[in-house]
């Protein structure tokens, strides 16, 4: 059976050029970039070159890039270290209700430690309002952590507008750009962000590597302590192969490629919506369909059909989509994002699937998927009658 992958917001396949670059690196070098001999210098050279590529991609300085194990570590580092560094200035933090768990869980822990967290609500499009943000911001606010775009519904947050508001405020501005990094042109200067998290495996790079952008003027203590790697900002021997692969993946994503992906993915959404409408399958989009969203994410509500039945049937037919995050026993957790958008009682919570496109998704894949989804939906509707 042919397997079609439409879960690129979860992870992406590595690009062949990334695999080639990593293979080459692993075959040629193995040195520790901190070593002061020839082997170490070889590794260090690769590290520097990669850092250069990545810094340029967001208009940052190379020494503002701290390599980490991924977005979870980047988010944990940003949130914990800012909160603890600036606790004397205030204990208030602003975030949104629809952040990734690697933002929400550290914040939950900080609440237990006495910090006060405001979770900005979202509307049915999955968007926050600046009026809510302005109302929440006060003299006690020390940290604002707001994602650039959402991983479940693809909605965008007004990062630049918030960055501008905070440019004259004590609060440090962190954004989780994990989903946005592969699709949007990001300029940390123009956006006025102090901290930005990313992950390589969401953009056709390897798993286990990411970075935290940290504005040079912002001094934070390291989250992981040990050796003096990353200028004492993150201990642990650098994952050179991963970093080289990450830089290669970044270099493939030119502004033109990103724009093309955005436009292709928008087209894929319309392709699916047209197929469902033509077949008379009842559906609604969770969020909105608009050109400047993160278009790789497409969240659909199929009224009356359970997420379990939809996702499992699709998988049995060879189509991988997401039904949400699973607990340790494999059963689906209700999405905190859909709950924030539609309320706890909405049938959308248990009748939706997330489809996410990637660099290797083709129009044929999408056509085959739409056909399979129509068939499954019609069969399930017939069964429930």
């Amino acid at each position: 059976m042919q397997h079609v992958y439409l879960d690129n917001a979860a992870t992406t396949p590595m690009a062949p050029a990334v695999i080639a670059a990593m293979t080459q690196q692993m075959q040629a070098d193995f040195g520790n970039a901190s070593s002061t001999h020839w082997f170490g210098r070889q590794a260090h050279m690769q590290l520097d070159a990669s850092r250069q590529v990545i810094a340029q991609s967001i208009n940052a300085q190379p020494d503002e890039i701290i390599f980490t194990s991924g977005a979870t570590e980047s988010n944990n580092t940003a949130i914990n270290q800012v909160a603890h560094e600036f606790a004397a200035r205030g204990k208030h933090i602003i975030t949104t209700a629809i952040e990734h768990p690697s933002v929400l869980q550290p914040l939950k822990q900080l609440e237990k430690e006495g910090f006060d967290v405001t979770y900005l609500p979202v509307d049915e499009k999955g968007e926050i309002s600046l009026a809510d943000f302005d109302a929440a911001l006060d003299d006690e606010t020390i940290l604002v952590s707001i994602m650039m775009g959402n991983n479940e519904v693809g909605s965008r947050m007004p990062i630049q507008a918030i960055g501008e508001r905070l440019s004259q405020h004590q609060a440090i501005f962190h954004t989780d750009a994990t989903q946005a990094y592969g699709l949007l042109d990001i300029d940390v200067q123009a956006l006025h962000v102090d901290l930005l998290s990313t992950s390589a495996h969401k953009i056709n790079g390897p798993k286990g590597v990411g970075f935290l952008y940290r504005r040079n003027q912002l001094m934070l203590k390291p989250f992981l302590r040990g050796g003096e790697q990353e200028k004492k900002r993150r201990a642990g021997t650098e994952n050179i192969a991963g970093i080289v692969g990450f830089a290669k993946a970044v270099s493939l994503l030119t502004p033109a490629v990103k724009a093309q992906h955005q436009s292709d993915y928008l087209g894929f959404k319309h392709q699916i919506m047209t197929a469902l409408a033509d077949a008379g399958v009842d559906y609604a989009v969770n969020g909105s369909v608009q050109a400047d969203n993160l278009n790789h994410v497409f969240n659909l509500w199929l009224a009356g059909l359970s997420t379990y039945a939809l996702q499992t049937n699709l998988d049995l037919d060879g189509f991988a989509v997401s039904g949400g995050s699973a607990c340790t026993a494999g059963s689906l957790e209700p999405s905190h994002v859909l709950i924030a958008m539609f309320g706890q009682a909405s049938p959308r919570i248990s009748e939706s699937i997330r489809i996410s496109f990637g660099a290797f998704t083709t129009a044929d894949d999408v056509a085959a998927f739409a056909q399979a989804l129509v068939k499954i939906a019609q069969r399930l509707h017939a069964h429930s009658k």
Partner: protein, 360 residues
Amino acid sequence: MSGGVDSSVTALLLKQQGYDVVGVFMKNWDDTDEYGVCTATEDYEDVAKVASEIGIPYYSINFEKEYWDRVFQYFLKEYKAGRTPNPDVMCNKEVKFKAFLDYAEELDADYIAMGHYAQTTTDENGIVHMLRGADGNKDQTYFLSQLSQDQLKKAMFPIGHLQKPQVRAIAAEYGLATAAKKDSTGICFIGERNFKQFLSTYLPAQPGQMMTTDGTVMGHHDGLMYYTIGQRSGLGIGGNSENSEPWFVVGKDLAKNVLYVGQGFNNPHLMATSLDASGMNFFTGQAPAAEFHCTAKFRYRQKDVGVTVKMNGDAAKIVFDEPVRAITPGQAVVLYNGNECYGGGTIEAAYNDAKVLQYV
């Protein structure tokens, strides 16, 4: 697939027979602790291992709501009424062979297969009959006694013809991760936790008097729901100089909140000669006759007793060939004819000749 050896071998055998098999784990109860770990985690991990070993896809489905509404509410209601419910019978009827069957049909499955020790056979008229599992010690038809003909037609029991040691040997032969896994015990959602403590978190306990049937107060009980007819342990009273036999629960009076106790395993108050049953279910869709003789079990793994069944609508009067000890209202009475299991009902009341026993 539960993550146990029985359903593991069930899946393996079906795969070997050429079926297109999909493994599904049911999560029916949420006991997630503060670390986000629930007891289902380990079982699901075992399902994942076994399914990968066999080469079949596996999924998890959540029936917590169905279980809560259709099994656990019944369970609490029965305890509140002073009876001893059988949640496994209800779970089979309402969850495993209803919600789960429905889900399997949504997945376009032709059959559901279970790792129960039970067998079926189809007669010339296309009617499916239920037979005991070949392993007399493990036979689980008792728990399946409320299934309908439609449910049975969709069900397969691929290990029903095997002995438990054979099932373990097959699992070991194919190197399945669950080959040596301990069998689960107790009611599934309570597991090996303290039953009394569990129940007390859902139902308020009303302590009261413990007395003999002639009114001698023997002490106090912690709440009638904690005691089952015929139970010995937990009474906290010993023998006396005249009679050194141990004490047993012989009755309950819910209205007066009194627990009756009596001495001797075969105390006359524990001995019944007949019972009333409700909700009589026959796998084939109807009773063999308005009145018939067969054998019966009144609790799981009990030896069969000869009985005469007199049907009255979907209720029945069941008269025993010889007195039976500790007939417990709320439990299932299940009927057999040789190797065939007819079906069963729920015990409502027990009698010693014409006298109703003070069980609730």
